[in-house]
């Protein structure tokens, strides 16, 4: 799991109204920094890293919801929730498929139950990846990161 990005211009003694937008912007950038690698290879680590970063972003939004402009943040927060859910669907299947690796016996003549399960999970993973790709593409089209960053930018 990748370490969280440091927020370089953060001063812990500045008031929350200035610190929270910096934290949120940093977590937002961190989350989407994994996007191109993820879409290129669907590497399990990239999926995991993006999911953890999106959860870190959620933590900022939930922990400091009292000091954020609720109405403006809410629609973006919902999109982040959906992103976490879609990343979770792929991640869970990546992890489940990784455990189905017991050596098959060479003399096996009957169809293996493990192989059937692996095939079923792979199918579901492909579907989950397609949903995630579609969602990320839509977020790009809507310029999600720019618009969400602007919400925090104007709050400074």
């Amino acid at each position: 799991m990748a370490a969280p990005w440091k927020v370089l211009d953060l001063d812990p003694d500045e008031p929350l109204k200035r610190a929270v937008p910096k934290l949120a912007r940093a977590r937002l950038q961190e989350t989407f920094s994994y996007q191109s690698q993820l879409l290129k290879t669907y590497d399990a680590e990239a999926v995991h890293d993006m999911r953890v970063s999106a959860r870190r972003l959620q933590t900022v939004l939930r922990t400091f919801h009292e000091v954020l402009p609720r109405k403006r943040v809410k629609p973006y927060e919902r999109r982040v929730e959906e992103l976490v859910r879609l990343l979770g669907d792929v991640r869970e299947l990546d992890v489940a498929l990784a455990i189905l690796t017991l050596p098959m016996s060479a003399s096996q003549t009957r169809l293996s139950g493990v192989a059937i399960l692996a095939a079923r999970l792979e199918y579901h993973r492909n579907v989950a990846r397609k949903h995630l790709t579609r969602f990320l593409t839509r977020m790009d089209r809507e310029r999600f990161t720019d618009r969400f960053s602007d919400v925090f930018g104007r709050e400074r």
């Binding site: 953060l10 812990p12 929350l16 610190a19 870190r56 009292e66 189905l100 017991l102």
Partner: protein, 163 residues
Amino acid sequence: MGHQQKLSKHQSLRSQMSMIIPRLLEKFLTWEGRVVSSARHLEDLHEMRLAGKRMRYTMELALPAYGEEFERALETVKQVTLLMGEIHDCDVHIGLLVEHAQEVRMLNKMIMTAKWRVQTREITMLVRQLRGERKSLYEQLRAELSRWRQDDVPRAIRMSCGG
């Protein structure tokens, strides 16, 4: 927990974190008794893991505000949440495999010719292996939470952020 003080956007990140982190710690410890009392309290373990993750990610945000002691406290929280995550993965996978084995056995009952039946031996082996791993991880978690009590780790976490 009593009445919770509201956050103030005019207060510093440092001062507000010293209020938020102890709250999250209390929430995390709510499930401790149930989790250590039985390996089968899966729901409680799940809730404790989620509370632990939230505390961990919040502590990461507060890293620039505190010193080395806080960094060590975060590492302790991280280790315990990772352990809980591994136990949770075992639970999910055991459930998945057991359910799949039941489906396969039902299917096999409808197949008259033995050689066409689907083999379940490997599924059983995997379930056994995962149950063994789960047992050992749970014992590690119990030992770690017992160490938390012995060394008063919750107090060290509170102190590290001035809470």
